[in-house]
């Protein structure tokens, strides 16, 4: 099962997880990653975060990514939910979950999905602090994380 969605409004990750785990209660194990809006950027307090996407590419790219994970690991299901729009500190940004018979597969697939959502998916992020809006640039660390998966077709 593949559940990939862009989410326009604040969502409840625990409700999504409850539904996903009910749908995969025979899988054995479910690994999830939840990203939430941080309260600070360096020394500055973040009061808002905005995520933009590009309609023609963002969801198809996320679907292709989920399919890559499903093709490589024996997974019972994959969920990848990503917020867009304006968010407040503490709001959920991204929720990924992978269900598998063997937990190592679920861990690897969730890790893979997050590394790619961070630095390959078509999202642009900016933060608002007292100093105004600032676009977030990709980090070298993100690119290094991605290089770990070069062997996955």
């Amino acid at each position: 099962m593949r559940d990939v969605r862009l989410i326009e409004r604040d969502f409840d990750p625990s409700r999504e997880m409850a539904q996903f785990s009910a749908a995969h209660d025979a899988a054995g194990g479910i690994v999830s990653f939840l990203g939430q809006v941080r309260r600070e950027a360096g020394d500055a307090a973040v009061d808002m975060l905005e995520l933009r996407h590009f309609g023609p590419l963002t969801v198809p790219g996320m679907e292709a990514l989920a399919d890559r994970a499903l093709a490589h690991w024996p997974l019972a299901g994959v969920m990848a939910l990503h917020r867009v729009g304006q968010m407040r500190p503490g709001d959920a940004i991204v929720l990924v979950a992978c269900a598998a018979r063997h937990r190592r597969d679920a861990f690897a697939a969730a890790d893979f999905l997050m590394d790619h959502l961070k630095s390959r998916a078509w999202f642009w992020k900016r933060e608002h602090t007292a100093a105004g809006w600032r676009w977030i640039e990709p980090r070298d660390e993100d690119r290094a994380d991605l290089a770990r998966w070069a062997h996955i077709p």
Binding site: G35, L51, R52, F54, G55, P56, L57, H82, I93, V94, M114, L117, K118, S119, R120, A121, W122, F123, W124, K125, R126, W135, I136, E137, P138
Partner: protein
């Protein structure tokens, strides 16, 4: 009319998320950049900026964008 979209920080460089330009005939990236100021032209031409023509990523110089087309400029992403 050709629609130009500026994603992420390119929006700030372009002064807005979208521009519309009249084109007599299909144009190349160089011809489009000639209408921009130097900073925007440089960032648009940077190899880290991807270009989508009507929602499909294009590469190299063998494309033209004309009347009714949508051309999106996509700087490096920062999601998650």
């Amino acid at each position: 009319m050709l629609t130009l979209l500026f994603l992420g920080r390119l929006e700030d460089v372009a002064g807005g998320p979208e521009r519309h330009v009249d084109v007599a005939a299909p144009v190349t990236l160089s011809q489009i950049c000639a209408q921009f100021d130097a900073d925007l032209a440089a960032q648009i031409s940077d190899p880290t900026t991807k270009i989508a023509l009507n929602g499909v990523i294009v590469a190299g110089d063998d494309w033209r964008a004309g009347d009714g087309d949508e051309l999106a400029f996509l700087p490096p992403v920062s999601g998650g």
